[in-house]
Subunit: 231 residues, 6 copies
């Protein structure tokens, strides 16, 4: 394939945009091995609950995650959970909560136009059961979850106060940079997918998690996601 050089990947895949977070997920896997490394995009495979799980770095932005997702599906992925972070833009979402996107809003253009070969607003939604199971699992681990609408931005440095307030007013829970790409490709290819975003901070009140809280929370969430994928 294009970026992942392994011959195949497992049906269960966790993708991350941060190598540190990939290490956290990997730390729970048995028989871990690096199965692909190309152009900065590294993949590992291991086992959890006697099932195989692949972890893959997805980079920044919709084109990057879309390419990785498409590659993964060609290689055999059938359940893909993205474990990412986000910044909340809703007063009641405390840093440390988890945001589960029932749908992503996005800017028209590029990746969508090329994949849809048409111009309409494509509904970006997760797999229903994967969503329910993950919400229930995380809640059972004591993690507060928020379900709703998230905006995938294409340009972090353009997030003016005005932009943030417009997105909050239109009832988005959070901003992030890749999720729409995952739901697009999984939607078009009919593969189960879900995003799980740990809210590192809240842009309305500037509250933030510190590094040790993040580390702690990410371990807990990683376990939850692995449980859902391999049960």
């Amino acid at each position: 394939m294009a970026i992942i050089t392994a011959k195949s990947v497992s049906e269960n895949v966790i993708i991350v945009g941060n190598l540190e977070r990939q290490r956290t997920v990997n730390s729970f896997l048995g028989n871990l091995e690096k199965v692909s490394e190309f152009a900065g995009y590294t993949s590992y495979q291991g086992e959890y609950n006697n099932k195989k799980v692949t972890t893959v770095f997805h980079g920044i932005g919709i084109p990057s995650i879309s390419l990785i997702t498409d590659d993964l599906i060609s290689l055999g992925a059938r359940r893909i959970i993205r474990f990412g972070s986000c910044n909340a833009i809703r007063e009641e979402i405390e840093p440390g909560s988890v945001v589960i996107p029932q749908g992503y809003s996005y800017n028209f253009g590029g990746t969508f136009r090329q994949y849809l070969n048409d111009e309409y607003s494509y509904s970006l939604i997760p797999d229903y059961d994967l969503m329910l199971n993950t919400v229930n699992e995380l809640e059972s681990l004591g993690i507060k979850t928020f379900k709703g609408r998230v905006f995938t931005s294409d340009a972090l440095f353009t997030h003016s106060r005005e932009f943030i307030e417009k997105m909050a007013k239109d009832n988005h829970m959070a901003l992030e940079l890749e999720g729409a790409g995952l739901y697009l490709i999984a939607g078009l290819k009919n593969v189960k997918a879900l995003s799980v975003h740990l809210a590192y901070g809240n842009l309305l009140n500037n509250k933030k998690m510190d590094a040790s809280e993040i580390s702690e929370k990410e371990k807990l969430i990683a376990k939850g996601i692995l449980n859902v994928l391999t049960r």
Copy 2:
């Protein structure tokens, strides 16, 4: 308000695009009274499980249902379930099944542009709990449900075979004419909403429900929706 002339409506509302279906829902309500009639748009109020429920006709198309939904929210509606029909475009969806839109795809333009005052793809999603409760309730009544992506079309008579196949290939479950408007207004106003579509037919294999099957099924679904809203 603009179309609904009542001073207020109940928090629980069922909207329909078909007066026959409105009569079916009304038939389960106690103390039923007509509370508004204007320009062909008639509203009733009644009781179920000792809770008030309003039923309203929403007409055809996104601008019509959007106007009605906006009107209803101004008048006090807080949980709105649309009970509609649809045509399935997925082989495995038998007529008589229920399609629950986790998200609507739509054409850019008109109503979206005027409400968003901007041009981006706004994620159209239902309330999470209303969706779960309704799916569970309908399944418990023996109704098969399909959860996923639905396309709201603006022009029924342009549905060529080519169009239907494109929409099926992009993994839409069904086509209908109004749902995107409900999720748009409810999303922007932060009010709980859900659509429940009875699949009257399937456009891929031309299977159809007959009138008596429809009547039977609609009574069952109406009861299910009323249970969810008033529990």
Copy 3:
């Protein structure tokens, strides 16, 4: 067809968005009978000047009126006059005047995109002779007419003062919700069509007609339209 269940309709059709106004038009027809009733959309047929005339409810919004118009043309309609209302946004248009749209401005998107299967600005104009005859007839009945540009809006509740002033500055005479759909379908199908809007009010100075004035004026206009169609 889709909404109108009659086997055919007369060549002359008057469509309205308000059941009260339909009753007014019907009151001038001989041998009146209800010929279709479905989903809230009711059609009548009667006679005037020994010619058959059908009256049909068209609902709210471009998708609704487009569907009805397309249905009507398939069923035999060849001259369609919409009798509607509007709100003027030009200082000199007094409530009680009639606005005759020489052309409609509109938002891009939905219905236009699906019917045109392309994206360009389609000129929405009435039949030349129908327009002249109607203007002359109404003027001869003592009704003041204004001919020019009207904007078909897709979202009544977004009409802020700023929006109204922008539309006035761009030299629109009035705002309303459906006309662009009629001219679109009639234009594409090469059928004669015209809209006649009674200005109920003026949004710049908040002048309004009262109910009895409306009733009186609508009777006069109905007669004028019937004369033009059946002469």
Copy 4:
């Protein structure tokens, strides 16, 4: 102003895209004088029926005619008739007929975006009385007129057979290159305008006028237009 260097122009203006045609119009004017010449755009002023008339070259394309029209209005023009040619795309329009655009369709973009400072489909229509008077005058001179929808193209050399048939199917009477610009600027500035297109040929059947027929017909039309403007 930008292109027309005269201090002012008369209220009545005839604009043309062809210097030969300008000479034809000028030949009917008394006291003719050149009042502006800049960058290839030449203006003349003369008299007809004891009223002043200015004739101006408008060049090719929407930006060119828009600039000239805007310039003219700033300089005092209040009634502008464009006397142009076109190619018919409707079987029944014989070369030598006159096409009167009740409205122009056009491509989105450039000039429209900059003038409207917004993106919607702006209705491009002529002055009602100027249209009626001109139609009547030309018909009285024995010239056959067609009233309806014309498409202003931005690129003559892209008119493939497929393009022409699409435009014909959407019920356009003719193709030409500037008219939308005149109706746009006159519409926004609230000045009376009209286009009169002599059909030089018909693109469906490749019939064409020859040079002497054109010369003859243009003299007749020029007289008709001058009569309307100065009566």
Copy 5:
């Protein structure tokens, strides 16, 4: 062809939007003859350095220059230099300097849509060698050149202070009305092209060249361009 009635043109062509400037260029040519005159668009042919050179008027706006360029290429043009003017919007560009567009920004729409038959942002760039040779030649004649990004506007009269500042902030060197059309057609047809703009003024500080400076400078530039084309 459409506008240029000559049977063929020389490989080397200079196009101008101003008849005065055309006279300046022509004044350097030997054996000058008018080879085409139609609809206000006049072409001359002559010799320089024993090579043939054609000069052509291109009118105002992208559709006009595009049509002329397309016509010229069909008639044999292979190296086209546009000699035009512009208004600078960068503080450091003094009137009298030359702006060489490495690329043009433009409004979407019309001409681009019809030629590309698609909607994407087409890169508008000059021929590399023609650009280098011209920059070097002009610098060697003592003319200061600025290389960079220029915006082709479709509507001169909409250039508000706000618009100018936005274009300056986005790092455009100058505004003008046609260049994007030349680079578009030359790009699609794979013919060498370049624009050379003499900055008549600067819109930020309102400095301007006077008529005699313009005349002087244009003679110098004309000579430079002729040297590059015929060397």
Copy 6:
């Protein structure tokens, strides 16, 4: 900053989308040290010709490279050369040649919309002198260069034969995935930038470089780029 955690970077920066290529560039630097590592994006700093040079990984896609470029400029970068690969779509470009984009074509949308806060086609061009110096340096090292138009795609897996042929017909030299982002941000921030693409293959004839050829060529190009930046 967002991704690069160093306090500052050098004025001269080379960015790459492939860690192997970064190692090649780094191998020429003295006093090399890793200065930032975050989320998979690693930066090094070293010396060449006694000048400081930073090398940074930019990931896949326009949003990724745009974010990195914006970050770099905030940290002090003033001359940025991207050293990347591409696939040629022009018969005469042999694998192993270097493609120098005088301009990038791109899809509308996302990153462009957020940065421009407007919708027009922004000209994406390199710094003139950086381009000339690099072309001359590479040619002097015996590398064949092609200067012209490149398309930045947002979705590698949608490159059907039809798409490739359309892009070739519109006179693009090559396809790649990031360049438009670099020229956008550098253009808006007024910083000197250039892309240098080694053509790994040619999509029209399926010729390809082998791994050892790539390695050899990349060393040569790396040296050339370093010479240009530090001279």
